[in-house]
């Protein structure tokens, strides 16, 4: 009787869970794929390979190439600071790190606007130096870094806590200096936490819309990343183009995940 009950409840839980994912996650995504290729592969392909489309793809990859390495290095250093060097300021740092999660990307974009805009604090100096931040790549990179900053920190901190300090101490008694200990012992021990953080950072930078939209001005062929390109195509009623770019974005994100799994499997073998 009780076994029957638990069986029933287990199945209803499964149906509920699967149904939820199916309806809210997979169905919309599947629809996009379907809509994209409804009239064959040519229309989406044309949209993506148009000069504006290719430029958007290039710009998105540039964002990833700059923001991800920077946030990875910063994230690991920050996690080390938080976990290995206890002091009172850590509480503040820990809270501030989470800000990009808590604040709406649009607000982040606006704050950058206030800082670098024509009436912004830093504008006079930057203009003199001939650096244009807003409506150009530097501002978009700044926005991307801002919104994706917490991921590596958040994924690395618990792993660092879990491995403890004994392995590092053992390395130092064996003659390793701080640098050698980090490269040979700490980093290999936390690598999957860092890798997962990198995947999340990449996905976020690839898909970031709000903050980048505000600071970029979304100028076709100049300051348009793939998500902005998707929106523009959609507004212009070029649905195949919008869907095509969306699928491309999704594939890029999937490729990142896949690459990590591949690395991990190779390691485990």
């Amino acid at each position: 009787m009780s076994a029957g009950n638990s069986l029933t409840s287990r199945w209803s839980l499964r149906v509920l869970g699967l149904g939820y994912i199916l309806l809210l996650l997979l169905l919309p995504l599947a629809l996009i794929f379907y809509k994209t290729f409804e009239d064959g592969i040519a229309p989406p392909l044309d949209a993506i390979t148009s000069p504006d489309g290719l430029h958007a793809l290039k710009l998105t990859l540039i964002m990833v190439a700059i923001a991800v390495p920077l946030n990875t290095v910063f994230g690991v250093l920050c996690a080390l600071l938080l976990v290995r060097h206890k002091w009172k300021g850590n509480v503040v740092i820990d809270a501030v790190i989470n800000l990009p999660f808590a604040i709406s990307p649009v607000v982040i974009g606006l704050s950058l606007f206030l800082l670098y805009g024509t009436t912004g604090w830093l504008e006079p100096g930057l203009a003199e130096a001939g650096i244009k931040v807003l409506f150009s790549v530097p501002g978009m990179v700044l926005a991307s870094i801002f919104v994706s900053l917490p991921f590596v920190v958040r994924e690395t901190v618990p792993v660092l806590q879990e491995i403890g300090t004994e392995q590092e101490q053992a390395a130092s008694t064996l003659g390793a200096n701080a640098w050698q200990t980090f490269w040979r012992v700490t980093l290999p021990a936390i690598r999957w936490g860092v890798a997962y953080g990198v995947v999340l950072t990449t996905a976020r930078v690839l898909g970031e819309f709000g903050a980048v939209s505000v600071v970029s001005g979304s100028i076709s062929g100049q300051t348009q990343t793939l998500p902005l390109f998707v929106e523009k195509q959609y507004q212009n009623f070029n649905l195949p183009g919008a869907f095509g770019a969306s699928v491309l974005l999704a594939l890029l994100a999937l490729a990142t995940l896949f690459a990590m799994n591949l690395l991990k499997r190779k390691e485990d073998a």
């Binding site: 392995q167 101490q169 053992a170 130092s172 008694t173 064996l174 003659g175 390793a176 200096n177 050698q180």
Partner: protein, 345 residues
């Protein structure tokens, strides 16, 4: 290389881990730091290694003050209670780590690692990962890793603490033999007095951040400096101001002026040795250690009244627990009330 620590102080916040500790470890000896948890023994060991910095005092290795030397330059081998194995490295890579840091060439590293794996009886496991080893094997790997760089001194922090009883006993004997072969000055930390007596030639008993007494196992057992050492090194009964070892409690059936009356509460047979627990008239609980033959001769039963006669009792009244007078002049009843009562058997 002899090791000495002079006037060491260390506190963690409000907690005084080391409170004016000085010890002397002779070259080539095997010394145990023995004490309950929180006694400062691990802190002392870590300070010798350089893993902790002393607030005051100094550490000398082979006569040279190393207090300012960072851990990686002290050339100590350190073995951790929970092995501290590098989980992402094979046994070979673990043991060869220190040599790789010292930029030995590959062939020399391989030769040395295999030599050490033979020494710690792990041949053929070079390509395993630590997760594929048992606890005892991991600890032997950790020991091989520490010995690979030919350290001046070997420091072991509760090395057998995480292992089960049988493995622990085997490793003890093995460590003793290893030390006889290698003669590297070795200090190991333990809270297990039997382990300390079994393995070490010299014991340093610590409590609340101080050294209570140091000496050989015999000295500590026979001439404890104070109440703490007496009760920590071996079992003890308390009778008023006096302390009596359970094997110094004679059980008789007829009272005289030196006996105390007690009721047999429980008789526990531990093989040849029998533990007989008594309650005295004032409610004190004591126990006597008898042999099976003695028990049979006395025909004791639980609930029965019998008489206890302390053959040897110690009293530490009036002696300051820290002045070590008990160790230096244990049999002088005149000086400071360190008295001993002996009765003819």
């Amino acid at each position: 290389m002899g090791i000495s620590v002079e006037g060491a102080f260390k506190s963690f916040g409000d907690f005084q881990a080391l409170n004016d500790v000085s010890i002397e470890v002779p070259d080539g000896s095997l010394t145990a730091l023995l004490g309950p948890s929180g006694s400062g023994k691990s802190t002392l060991l870590r300070a010798i290694a350089g893993l902790e910095t002393l607030d005051a005092g100094q550490v000398l290795i082979d006569g040279a003050n190393v207090s300012r030397k960072p851990v990686q330059k002290r050339e100590v081998g350190f073995v951790f209670q929970h092995y501290a194995a590098f989980k992402h490295m094979t046994v070979f890579q673990n043991v060869g780590f220190g040599l790789k840091i010292r930029k030995w060439d590959k062939a020399k590293i391989a030769a040395r690692v295999h030599e050490l794996l033979d020494l710690v009886q792990l041949p053929g496991l070079a390509d395993r990962y630590p997760s594929q080893l048992s606890g005892g094997q991991r600890q032997r790997m950790a020991l091989a890793r520490a010995l690979a760089v030919e350290p001046q001194v070997l420091l072991l922090d509760e090395p057998f603490g995480a292992l089960d009883a049988k493995v622990r006993k085997d490793l003890r004997a093995w460590l003793r033999n290893l030390h006889e072969e290698m003669h590297v000055t070795t200090i190991f930390v333990t809270h297990d007095q039997e382990e300390a007596m079994d393995v070490a030639g010299q014991l340093v008993v610590m409590n609340e951040g101080r050294v209570e007494q140091s000496g050989s196992a015999d000295e500590l057992y026979e001439k404890p400096a104070n109440e703490f050492v007496m009760s920590f090194v071996g079992e003890v009964n308390r009778l008023g101001d006096h302390f009596v070892r359970p094997h110094d409690m004679e059980v008789v059936l007829d009272p005289d002026e030196r006996t105390e009356e007690g009721m047999v509460q429980r008789i526990v047979a531990l093989g040849f040795e029998i533990r007989v627990e008594f309650v005295l008239g004032d409610g004190t609980e004591v126990w006597a250690q008898l042999t099976r033959n003695e028990l049979q001769r006395l025909e004791l039963e639980e609930g029965q009244i019998a008489y206890l006669r302390p053959v040897q009792a110690k009293s530490f009244n009036g002696a300051s627990p820290d002045d070590g007078s008990g160790a230096s002049t244990p049999r002088g009843p005149q000086d400071g009330g360190d008295a001993e009562v002996s009765a003819p058997v």
